[in-house]
């Protein structure tokens, strides 16, 4: 029983990264119709920037949680203005390919500058140690990551449901044409939404910084799992992406515990099953075929 709770905690912590990043991916896809291949690279950049800020100007973890997403927002805005914008309206695969090229560029730039070995990152003292909950001992950091990302997801949910911007984002996710027909300038929101999605990927990177090895390649597998996540959850569905993110985290953690050799493979088996049973994803709309 303790074991199961233990793995659940680990899985939810791992799922937090997926959920946050998949949330960004789903929002970008919803409004722009773009699958951002560079999402894994942005996650990596978030972690690298956090490490550089700590090393360079002594900016700690707590400040990085606010500063890095802001920087990544700016980066996302620049990418959208300089590149993505020119391909919106064309076949969606072009932006997929564009962001793939961007991924190669970013990963090798970081690799060339900082090498392949990981950058160090010290975790804040408060987040070390374990919490004892009855018989279960949970690492403080994992508990924090989970609580924090749930809070962020909730905040984004409030933003989406309670504000005008959120309403526009949801409306254009579900019926872009109709939203335009109602006189709403969807185009105005494209740039900030893209930046926001990138910021979420960067935030996931900051959270990962004290927890995982910070290397240029840390996003390379991450982005593939992320794709499996949004295929499982249904790419058109923002809630689906978050739920599937945590689900995949759990699958990964239990896989690693009970069948370490197959931990990575199980995720793709789950994806295959979802495609077989519900091609549109768990919470996705049925796709026009």
């Amino acid at each position: 029983m303790n074991e199961i709770l233990q793995y659940t905690a680990q899985g939810l912590a791992a799922g937090s990264f997926y959920a946050l990043a998949a949330l960004g991916l789903a929002i970008i896809f919803g409004v722009l119709g773009v699958v951002n291949f560079a999402h894994g690279a942005c996650y990596m950049l978030g972690a690298v920037v956090a490490a550089l800020l700590l090393d360079g100007i002594g900016l700690g973890f707590w400040a990085a949680l606010a500063v890095v997403p802001l920087l990544m927002f700016g980066f996302g805005v620049a990418i959208e203005r300089l590149m993505v914008r020119w391909l919106v309206g064309l076949y969606p695969l072009y932006n997929f390919l564009l962001t793939f090229g961007l991924t190669l560029l970013l990963v090798d730039l970081v690799k060339r500058r900082y090498g392949v070995s990981g950058l160090p990152y010290a975790r804040p003292e408060v987040l070390n140690g374990q919490i004892e909950l009855g018989a279960v001992r949970l690492p403080v950091y994992q508990t924090f990551v989970f609580a924090f990302s749930v809070a962020v997801c909730l905040a984004v949910w409030l933003l989406l449901t309670k504000t005008r911007i959120g309403m526009i984002v949801r409306a254009s996710t579900e019926r872009a044409e109709l939203t335009r027909a109602l006189g709403i300038d969807v185009g105005r929101w494209v740039t900030p939404v893209f930046g926001f999605g990138i910021a979420l990927a960067g935030l996931a990177g900051v959270l990962a910084a004290p927890f995982r090895a910070i290397t240029a390649d840390m996003g390379s597998n991450f982005v593939i799992i992320l794709f499996a996540v949004v295929v499982i959850g249904g790419l058109g569905s923002i809630l689906g992406a978050v739920v599937a993110g945590f689900l995949v985290g759990l699958v990964e953690a239990f896989g690693q515990a009970y069948a370490p050799a197959f931990a990575q493979i199980v995720i793709f088996v789950v994806m295959a099953l979802v495609i077989l049973v519900r091609p549109a994803g768990l919470l996705g709309k049925e796709e026009a075929r």
């Binding site: 699958v35 590149m83 020119w86 391909l87 309206g89 064309l90 076949y91 969606p92 695969l93 072009y94 997929f96 390919l97 564009l98 793939f100 090229g101 961007l102 991924t103 190669l104 560029l105 970013l106 990963v107 090798d108 730039l109 690799k111 060339r112 390379s220 597998n221 593939i224 794709f227 499996a228 949004v230 295929v231 790419l235 050799a261 197959f262 990575q264 493979i265 793709f268 088996v269 994806m271 295959a272 495609i275 077989l276 091609p279 796709e287 026009a288 075929r289």
Partner: protein, 333 residues
Amino acid sequence: MTEAISEAPKIEIAGTRRPGAGRNRFRWVLLAIGLVAALALPWFVYPPVALDIAAWALFAIALDILLGYTGLLSFGHAAFWGGSAYVTGLVALHLGVPFPVAILAGAVFAMLIALPIGLLSVRRSGIYFAMVTLAFGQMLYFVANQWRDVTGGENGLQAIPTDFFGVDLVETESFYFYYAALPIVLAGMWLAWRIVHSPFGRVLVAIRDNPARARALGYNVQRYKVMAFVQSAGLAGVAGGLFSVSHGFASLGELYWTTSGKVVLIAVLGGIGTLWGGVIGAALVVLLEDQLATSGFEGVGIITGAVFIVVVLAFRRGIWGTARDAVRRRRSP
């Protein structure tokens, strides 16, 4: 819903040939130039590099059957290239057969794994197809990574022999190996050309241009997509097997998604929907990477990534596609 789909923007493909057009000497001249270039290549570049160009060219052409002629972007073709690289290597190592036989076994294996992957992946289309194939391709990478007893894990398969019916020169000199391997590459390319110019290929183009209409005409769209997927995988397998024999090893890198990405880059750079663009793209990318590697530049991805961004932003028809359109405009204004 279906109407909206058929009006959706398409992949930009250089003008499709009109029936009856192009029956001229120009094509034969191009074919002759291509053959001479293929035969002369190992005199001008280091023979193993020449073989890399040939293998990647065939790989890109195989991908183009799907991307350019069926409208499906597979981002998981590393599974077939790399899967065949391993099986070819294993067969050559353990059975001691001549390398063309080993490559055939690799290609058959690629088609066998392509069948379930294809059947699942065609349930989604467009961008989803790319993501699903990418994920399945990566799954195979993890399988190979775990199955160390057979694949050698991170060490890969080493010392794959180049047995060619006991001909010693081919086995020891990469220069002669190139000429032993070239017929396999050319046969693969000819097969790809036959596939896209057959009645079957016309159905694929119909599916690419308007799936709803193809279905209305009574074609089983899913089945055609799976068949195209399996054939493309088979040719990718031939290329991958050849690559592993040429290098004497098969590594996990062959299965990693960056390999899938590289072949997409080659195909797009050459021009999708052109078939032969893959040859140009492969020559450019392989030579560029070779140059960068020999000059000691670290971070090849910085250059290839930047090239890719520029191509996608400004040059979507690729080299061959742009050239072909220019020639056509001049001839029939």
